[in-house]
């Protein structure tokens, strides 16, 4: 199982590149031109994330260096230990449903503090890829058509997020150990 998951990790990007470019070539579009066209947007996209990263980094940097983060982690540890979740990723778990850019900033900050190859870093990476920004998605889509009673949507979406979090921890334990 663990080997299978590792193989997926190795093969995913090469397969994706081969599939996308191969299909484009097969469909006779100018693959190179299209690639360049898209790549130009890379600069603008990165630039647009910068303010969010600065805002989040500074806020968490202050919170962490003051010792406040240690207090929060100490309080949460007994609870998170019960579920086997590293307490360090709880701030990320809380902000994930609220804002994509803010959680990106928080993830990068976790990498900086604990390292991307630590257990915390791996669980955070895995969890981050497993859910979306729930509140944002719901508000734009329901807002677009004027729906006011969203019934059970929020609950089911939150159940999905929690399932993703627990699954991330268990899968990382199996695949990476510890």
């Amino acid at each position: 199982m663990s080997e299978f998951i590792k193989t997926i990790s190795v093969l995913a990007i090469p397969t994706f590149i081969f599939g996308v470019l191969g299909y484009g070539y097969f469909k006779r579009i100018n693959v190179y031109e299209a690639f360049i066209e898209g790549a130009k947007e890379g600069l603008a996209t990165t630039w647009s994330v910068l303010p969010y990263l600065v805002a989040m980094f500074v806020a968490i940097g202050i919170f962490r260096s003051s010792g406040a983060m240690d207090v929060v982690i100490k309080i949460l540890t007994p609870i998170t230990n019960f579920f086997g979740i590293p307490a360090e990723i709880i701030p990320l778990v809380l902000i994930r449903p609220m804002s994509g850019s803010a959680s990106t900033g928080m993830l990068a900050e976790l990498f900086k503090t604990y390292g991307p190859d630590s257990f915390v870093g791996r669980v955070a990476s895995t969890m981050m890829g497993s859910t979306e920004t729930i509140f944002y998605t719901l508000s734009i889509y329901f807002g677009a058509v004027g729906i006011k009673r969203i019934r059970y949507t929020m609950w089911a979406a939150l159940i999905a997020e929690i399932a993703g979090l627990i699954a991330s921890v268990i899968i990382c334990r199996i695949v990476f150990g510890i």
Binding site: F4, G42, G129, Y152
Partner: protein, 190 residues
Amino acid sequence: MVNSVWIVLILAGLLMGLINGELEAVTQSAIDSAKYAVELCLGLIGIYALWLGLMKVAEESGLVKAISKRMSGIMKFLFPEVPRRHPAMGAMTMNIIANMLGLGNAATPLGIKAMHELQSLNRNKDTATHAMCMFLIINASSVQLIPTTVVALRSVAGSKNPTEIIGTALMATSISTLAGIIAAKILARR
């Protein structure tokens, strides 16, 4: 909501720094953090350019449409009350595929179109239908095949193997989406 989280982090941090006598460290950290954000962005530009380049090729070649055609069985299970040939089906399928491929920019307009089509089938205009709930739950739990941003951030942060989490993320995202679908099916029966 982010607004309150952000301000709490900063104010609580500053107060705690004052109590702990760590204000110098706090100031230093604020400045360093801002600087690091820019360094990180510089590292991200290249990887983003690579991905957005690939995404453009996927978009222009009609890859999304090609995959959508093979999805009708699953879609019928997920959205039993939407007629098979209704335009809502097409828009929802393409939105889900675009999300899976990480084509966020292409996915949003398709998703909004899908919501308008679903609304045309809705008798009670301010209340969500089961189909709408299911569609948004799938969207919110996201079935992204390759978490590109995470891989990019890992590589900039100096990971020895930035892509090692693709497999684990794929498993986790499948489980979270499945949990969302099951929850939605159960809650819809009440």
